[in-house]
Subunit: 405 residues, 2 copies
């Protein structure tokens, strides 16, 4: 049901950020379903959001608020996506923001709303507005485990990542949480991801950083090829570390960006490890493409093929299905004689056919592992891309056939 | 495991066509796995083939032979796809054609080879060449049931369709067989489909007819979004009815084309009804698109969404997943307020949100049926398109996880 230990390690406090998770009764009674983050004045917030045309009411409102002023609160609920709900849905999201803003004595547009859960049912706003006072009372500087649990839906475990690095003689911290599980093929962002750092950043730099980091992490994962209506990924730079990104050397900026990227990738891959019904964590590496786009086309053709994914579930090195997926990916003038396919260190396809050195036992030994790589060498250019996926199991069907029952 | 009765009805003899199915031991001993069709001199044959870049050896050879001369025999084996097999695979396909040609005293390039089954294993040509004499001995004018069984792989039942119509005072017959089951998102053709008619046709007309008929049938179905390496669809016009297509009035040509289209659609939808693990047969109708392409984009986004398909399996009217699939289909400037979604006669989405008249009970009453339609009205133009799919069940995972065991 999930790959790897899921251990979260030390989750560092980020200056200027407080958090709380409470139960509003949207999901089962007593289960955490509302999370609030408080951001210190001076924090810079940037985000990327779903490209689904039916984007949810909170996504619309969140983008409006973000464009208007500097956010002071993030208000997240699970159990209801508030998507496909039209004008009443937008009103419900607004009333939640207003209730939190009134209780916190800030302007309503400094609250960013996020929702995840069932699509098409009106958000029970009254349940959320009823708990905003309690949430504000419970704000603490470090309970990442609790808030990571608070944003879970069909996730089986919380997802978080944390890094510290020394920059300009000071300690800079990056800590983030995410949730995923199903309807996972983010396009510009994941289901929900929140990354906080105490570095200072301009809005332009923060937006550029979140876009780039999300592109190479949340936008490189797929569970089932379905893009949610609610995907949102947020980066908060609270400027409490005494270090400002602008004043760093180019080398230090690069070090920070690399650590930020690592946190994003750890969160994104945690979503895949806990993909609905996942028993395998698979890295798909496409090398030697002419363009990034064609690498991704091939990668997703493999990563979204139900036939490949069920073979992975069975630990069956049915490599013909990988080959067929490469062949149907739509690349013009694909010279199949030049293509190699590898499972970790085992070469399975060479010159358009089974490699002479390949043995079923060697393929089996890779696929019987919980984690491995599928590597396709296209020999068409110098682009390499990595993406991550999981297998397709009976539990995926069970979870999604019974989601609303 | 399959939707509907699967009754084949009367399967009419087509003058000029004889057939046989034998067992070569490629699959389990005693199971039919080699089918031979004999075509009378003067028959015109046209075909459409997979667009998968890793197209199989028999597909390559078949296209070469078809371009060279008028075919006299179709030689089909199951149990091995002879795909991803490189030069030895091509040699194996050639030797099978040569063996049949020698036994039948025709040129080798008048034999069209077809293979379906596991990808990546070399075709056991000796097993096939050993049975060509027996197959020729057993040729009969009408055993469609047997040859339809002879081309099955994971199909649970044979697929055939037959029509007769009066043209120019004579009876014209069209009879076809097909196989499918999984790796089904044909692109220019289906896994294997063979349609025979005793009308006379020029090669140009036959090619145009098979292309158009396949486009609106086999190219409008999807089980799992995977395009096979071996898809082939063949139309044979044996010219034995005394009616030639060329000499018909435009109205009669249209009548013939319509009947031919019906046979193709019956075969294609039979593949979906018997899709791997299928428990629902679903017609997806996209109306009011600006182009055919955008109708198909939306249709396939729905028909290939694992989340939609698992909800269909559960008979769960989780229409939010259909809405999310429409939203992520990639249509530029999609005005969600104009979109309607219907389940048969039940309106579920209007103005971008749940229709006021919609009730869960009404949605449930449609989805609890074995066969129903999902209709999306885009209100962007005058294109309508229909495609067909099935649900995604536990049995799909079981069948594909255990395919080679």
């Amino acid at each position: 049901m999930a790959v790897g230990s899921g251990e979260l390690g030390t989750l560092h406090t980020v200056g200027g950020v407080r958090m709380a998770a409470v139960s509003a009764g949207i999901k089962k009674a007593g289960r955490l379903d509302v999370v609030v983050f408080e951001l210190a004045p001076g924090s810079v917030t940037a985000g990327v959001f779903t490209t689904n045309a039916f984007c949810a009411a909170p996504v619309t409102l969140c983008q409006q608020h973000l464009a208007t002023t500097a956010p002071r609160y993030l208000l997240i609920n699970t159990g209801n996506a508030n998507a496909g709900t039209g004008a009443p849905g937008l009103q419900a999201a607004k009333s939640c923001c207003e209730a939190l803003a009134t209780a916190a004595k800030v302007a309503a547009n400094t609250v960013l709303p996020f929702s995840t859960g069932v699509i098409g049912e009106l958000l029970p706003a009254a349940k959320i507005t009823a708990v905003v006072d309690a949430a504000l009372t419970e704000l603490v500087t470090n309970d990442w485990h609790k808030v990571a649990r608070g944003i879970m839906t069909t996730d089986t475990r919380p997802k978080a990542s944390s890094r510290q690095l020394q920059l300009a003689g000071k300690t800079v911290t990056i800590t983030g949480i995410a949730k995923g599980a199903g309807m996972i093929k983010p396009n510009m962002a994941t289901m929900l991801g929140y990354v906080f750092t105490d570095i200072g950043m301009t809005e332009v730099d923060a937006q550029s950083a979140v876009k780039q980091a999300a592109d190479l992490s949340f936008n490189r994962i797929t569970v089932d090829g379905d893009t949610s209506t609610n995907d949102s990924c947020i980066l908060v730079a609270s400027n409490q570390s005494g270090v400002h990104f602008d004043s760093l050397s180019a080398a230090d900026q690069q070090r920070f960006t690399a650590e930020l990227q690592t946190v994003f990738i750890e969160l994104a891959t945690a979503i895949i490890r806990d993909g609905e019904g996942a028993t395998k964590f698979v890295t798909i590496r496409i090398e030697g493409g002419a363009t990034t786009q064609e690498c991704l086309q091939v990668g997703y053709a493999i990563g979204e093929s139900p036939l490949v994914k069920t073979a992975l579930f069975a630990s069956d090195p049915n490599w013909g299905r990988i080959l067929a997926a490469v062949g149907r990916a739509g690349l013009a003038n694909l010279q199949i004689d030049n293509i190699e396919i590898w499972l970790d260190h085992v070469n399975i396809v060479r010159s358009g056919a089974r490699a002479a050195t390949y043995t079923e036992a060697a393929g089996q030994s890779v696929l019987s592992k919980e984690e491995f790589s599928i590597i396709v060498k296209l020999a068409r250019g110098s682009c390499d891309e990595t993406l991550w996926t999981c297998d397709f199991s009976h539990d995926y069907v069970t979870i999604n056939a019974e989601y609303r029952t």
